[in-house]
Structure formats: structure tokens, C-alpha cells
């Protein structure tokens, strides 16, 4: 083979664009059309537990994004060496390591958040979204694609829990990100005008209601029907 044909052979397969249509779809799909919470109905447990306030929810969302994207990436890099018979254990070990890293970092730099979230951060290990993406995608696809896929799923999870948290904190505690919105409203309209907070929203039942409404609105719009 001459050098010329070698060059041609390389030219024939140009690298896929960093954000090609297919790759954008990997990230965008789980946001709405294939959302892990509202369509696949995974990761509900933590969506109910951590969403009473925006701030811890945001920390939780960032943690999940890190864990899902990184574990997808690492497992995908290792996918050809992982023995099939112990693959679930290997996946768990990687996920557990990443989750422990997140928890250690929080403990060092955001101790108040660590106190509030430590149980739920630990439970990311058992979050179905993580294991689901590893089994369904990372074990059979290239690292970069897996990273994007993980990112998409985690972002889909994040915007839902942040939306739930927004309404729960607003109606339950009368604030958003700790800013007392209700108090400002009352001060604008005078002392006689006061908004009551709804205790139901602080309990997990509130999350179920909000989540149900989000699913309803979304499915009305997209026309999705469960088979």
C-alpha cells in the first residue's frame, strides 16, 4: 500500500463533529422526550426527598450530573475489559467511588450542605438513572458519546427536581433560594395583605402533587402515551 491510499483511507472517515446532530440528540432527548423522571419514572425517591428547598436541590442536581456523566464515561472507557459476569459489581464499585468523592468534597467545602444531604448523596448509588444508563448505554458505546448521554439524562433529572423544588419552596416556605418572596409581596401590599404558606408542600406529598402536574402538562403537550 502506498502512502497515498493510506491518506485516502483516513480521509474517508472524517471525525464526527464534536456536537453533531446525533450527539446533540443524545443530550437533548432525555430533557423532554425521554425524561428519566417524567417518562421513564426513575429516580423518584430522591426527587421527593430533597426538593423541599432550592439550594440543597441544586447541590443534589450538580452531584447527580457529576456522578452520572463521569460513571458513564469511566465505564465506557473500561467497557471492553469488564468481565461480563461481574459487570454489575464493577459498575457499582465505580459509581460508589464517585459518590463517595462527591460526599467527601461536600464535607470539606460545604459542611452545612453535607449535613443536610449526606444520606441522599449516598443514595445516588442506588439511583436507577445511574445504573440504567450504564447498562443501557455506556456498556456498548464510546466514551465521549456516553459522557454526553449521561449529561443529558442527569440534566433531564435536574431540571425536573429544580422545578419541583421551586414550587415546593415557594408555596411551602414562601421563598425562592432562601429569599423570602412572600415577605416582599406582603411589604408591597401593606401589612393587611399576607400570604399563608402551605404545610403540605413541605411534606413529600407536595412533591407527588407537583410531579404529577408536571407529568400531566408534559404529556398533554407531547401526546406521549404509556404502552
Amino acid at each position: 500500500m502506498s502512502a497515498e491510499t493510506l491518506e485516502k483511507a483516513i480521509e474517508k472517515k472524517p471525525a464526527e463533529a464534536l456536537f453533531s446532530k446525533r450527539r446533540r440528540k443524545l443530550v437533548a432527548d432525555p430533557l423532554i422526550d425521554d425524561n428519566p423522571i417524567t417518562i421513564q419514572v426513575l429516580g423518584i425517591c430522591s426527587a421527593l426527598a430533597v426538593t423541599t428547598q432550592m439550594k440543597p436541590t441544586l447541590v443534589m442536581a450538580i452531584s447527580v450530573i457529576f456522578v452520572v456523566a463521569m460513571s458513564n464515561f469511566v465505564i465506557s472507557v473500561m467497557r471492553n475489559t469488564i468481565p461480563a459476569r461481574v459487570r454489575i459489581i464493577v459498575q457499582l464499585a465505580v459509581v460508589a467511588t464517585l459518590v463517595t468523592l462527591v460526599s467527601e468534597v461536600l464535607k470539606a467545602f460545604a459542611y452545612d450542605m453535607y449535613k443536610e444531604l449526606s444520606v441522599f448523596i449516598g443514595l445516588i448509588i442506588t439511583n436507577c438513572i445511574v445504573m440504567g444508563r450504564l447498562e443501557a448505554f455506556a456498556m456498548g458505546n464510546k466514551p465521549y458519546d456516553s459522557l454526553l448521554d449521561g449529561l443529558g439524562s442527569a440534566l433531564g433529572y435536574s431540571w425536573i427536581i429544580l422545578t419541583v423544588a421551586f414550587f415546593r419552596e415557594l408555596f411551602g416556605s414562601g421563598s425562592v433560594f432562601g429569599i423570602p418572596v412572600y415577605n416582599y409581596v406582603s411589604s408591597i401590599f401593606g401589612p393587611d395583605f399576607s400570604l399563608a404558606t402551605n404545610g403540605l408542600m413541605v411534606s413529600p406529598i407536595g412533591a407527588f402533587i407537583i410531579l404529577g402536574l408536571i407529568v400531566w402538562v408534559q404529556r398533554t403537550k407531547t401526546g406521549y402515551v404509556e404502552h
Partner: protein
């Protein structure tokens, strides 16, 4: 080859070592910072018994440390109220949770003294640590007694795993506020502590030994009651000692 038992064992072994090194390395690097964060959190809890949570939240970590070193003195006493001087560490280092497992007579009891800035003699209140069992896990806190050694100046309560929205409400400022101004001794000087009652919504402002309860969290409330009573009785010798000192000084 890939599926042979040897491969699986070697793979698992290498994976374990790599992940283990990664985790222990992280723990080594972050360890000092975590210790600092824990120490700071403890100081915030102690201060929480004497100043409001909003004031503490507004402080930077540096300010908390500064405020703490300016306003808090500490000592360690035994069950008889005598200061332990031989071979003890500072009060901040005494782990109340660890001593909780020992018999009451063998424990070390830290006492934190909240005093005026620059004058450790001008005591404003004494802060005692508390430790006990809630419904699911440990609960703990700090109780501030005013210088009459009877009136509660403030309390902070914390927990490891009480139910959110029920028992976990002991950490709320509004709940802790219920203790302020209550008395721990009756007129005859008997220790009665303060009881959180069953049910919620009653007015106990007329009773100095009772506070309104937590609806749906009676077991946690009972845990708080037991904890208060137990630790006040452990510190009773110290408290009575301070009282008699004051009586002497008053003559």
C-alpha cells in the same frame, strides 16, 4: 481469556486497589479541611445556644472563630462538679458522644462559659452539651443557663436521622425558642428540667417546666426530655456549686 476465572479475579483485584487508593488519597487530602469544617460547625452549635441563628448565619467562618475565641471560655468537670485538671484535653476536644457510652460517673463533662468580651469574669451564661437518643438515631444539643443557674437562656438541638417534617423539627428556631425563659429547678431546688409535652398547639407560657410539643414526633420529644433531664442531673453538682459560690459572694 476475558471470561476466565483468573481474569475476573485479577480484574477485580486491580479495580479494588485503584479505587481504594483513589478514595484514601482523597480522604487524606481533604481530611484537615473536613476537621476544620466539623470544628466550626460545633462552635456554631455552641454559639447557637446564646445568640440567634440569623446572627451566626451572617458571620463568615473567620468571624465565627473570632467571636468564639473572644466570648467563650471552657472547662471540663467531672460528675461532682470538680474541674478535671490532670491530663485532660480542652473542652472542645471532649467527645460527648464517646463518653455517652461510659457510666455517668466516669465521663468528662465540658462546660462552655459565655462571657463579656475581654472579661472572662463577667459571665453571661453557662452552656452545657446534651446527648441522647431520638427515634431513629442520636440527638444532641447545647443548653445555655443564665447566671441564676435556673433560667434557660437558649438551646440548640441537632439530630442524626429524625424524620423530616416531624422529629427533625427540633432543629427549627421556632421550636427551640419555646425553651427560652423556662426554669430547670422548682422552688424547693429540686431538679425537674423542662418537659416537651405530647400534642401541639397548647399554650404553656404559664408553666415554667413545660413546653409545647411536636405533633407526630412524641418519641423524639421524649428523647429530648430524657436527654435534658439526664445531662442536667449530671451537671447538677456543678450547677449547685456555682449557686453556692454566688450565695457566698452575695453575703
Amino acid at each position: 481469556m476475558q471470561q476466565s476465572n483468573t481474569y475476573i479475579i485479577v480484574f477485580s483485584g486491580v479495580l479494588t486497589i485503584v479505587l481504594g487508593l483513589l478514595l484514601s488519597g482523597t480522604s487524606q487530602v481533604l481530611g484537615p479541611m473536613q476537621q476544620e469544617a466539623i470544628a466550626l460547625d460545633k462552635k456554631k452549635q455552641i454559639l447557637g445556644a446564646v445568640i440567634s441563628a440569623e446572627e451566626i448565619d451572617a458571620m463568615t467562618p473567620l468571624q465565627v472563630n473570632e467571636f468564639y475565641s473572644k466570648r467563650i471560655a471552657s472547662t471540663v468537670v467531672d460528675i461532682n462538679g470538680k474541674e478535671i485538671s490532670s491530663g485532660v484535653v480542652t473542652a472542645e476536644k471532649v467527645e460527648v458522644a464517646k463518653f455517652f457510652k461510659k457510666p455517668a460517673a466516669d465521663r468528662q463533662y465540658p462546660v462552655y462559659v459565655f462571657h463579656a468580651e475581654g472579661n472572662p469574669e463577667a459571665v453571661e451564661s453557662y452552656i452545657f452539651p446534651l446527648y441522647g437518643a431520638g427515634l431513629w438515631d442520636a440527638i444532641w444539643g447545647y443548653l445555655a443557663l443564665e447566671t441564676d443557674m435556673n433560667t434557660i437562656g437558649g438551646i440548640t438541638l441537632a439530630h442524626a436521622g429524625e424524620t423530616p417534617g416531624l422529629g427533625a423539627r427540633i432543629t427549627e428556631g421556632g421550636v427551640q425558642q419555646r425553651y427560652v425563659g423556662k426554669k430547670v429547678f422548682d422552688e424547693s431546688g429540686q431538679l425537674v428540667a423542662v418537659r416537651m409535652m405530647k400534642g401541639e398547639g397548647k399554650d404553656y407560657s404559664g408553666d415554667v417546666h413545660k413546653v409545647d410539643g411536636l405533633s407526630g414526633a412524641t418519641i423524639t420529644a421524649n428523647g429530648v426530655n430524657n436527654m435534658l433531664k439526664a445531662y442536667l442531673s449530671h451537671y447538677e453538682a456543678f450547677i449547685k456549686g456555682k449557686l453556692s459560690n454566688q450565695a457566698v459572694a452575695g453575703l
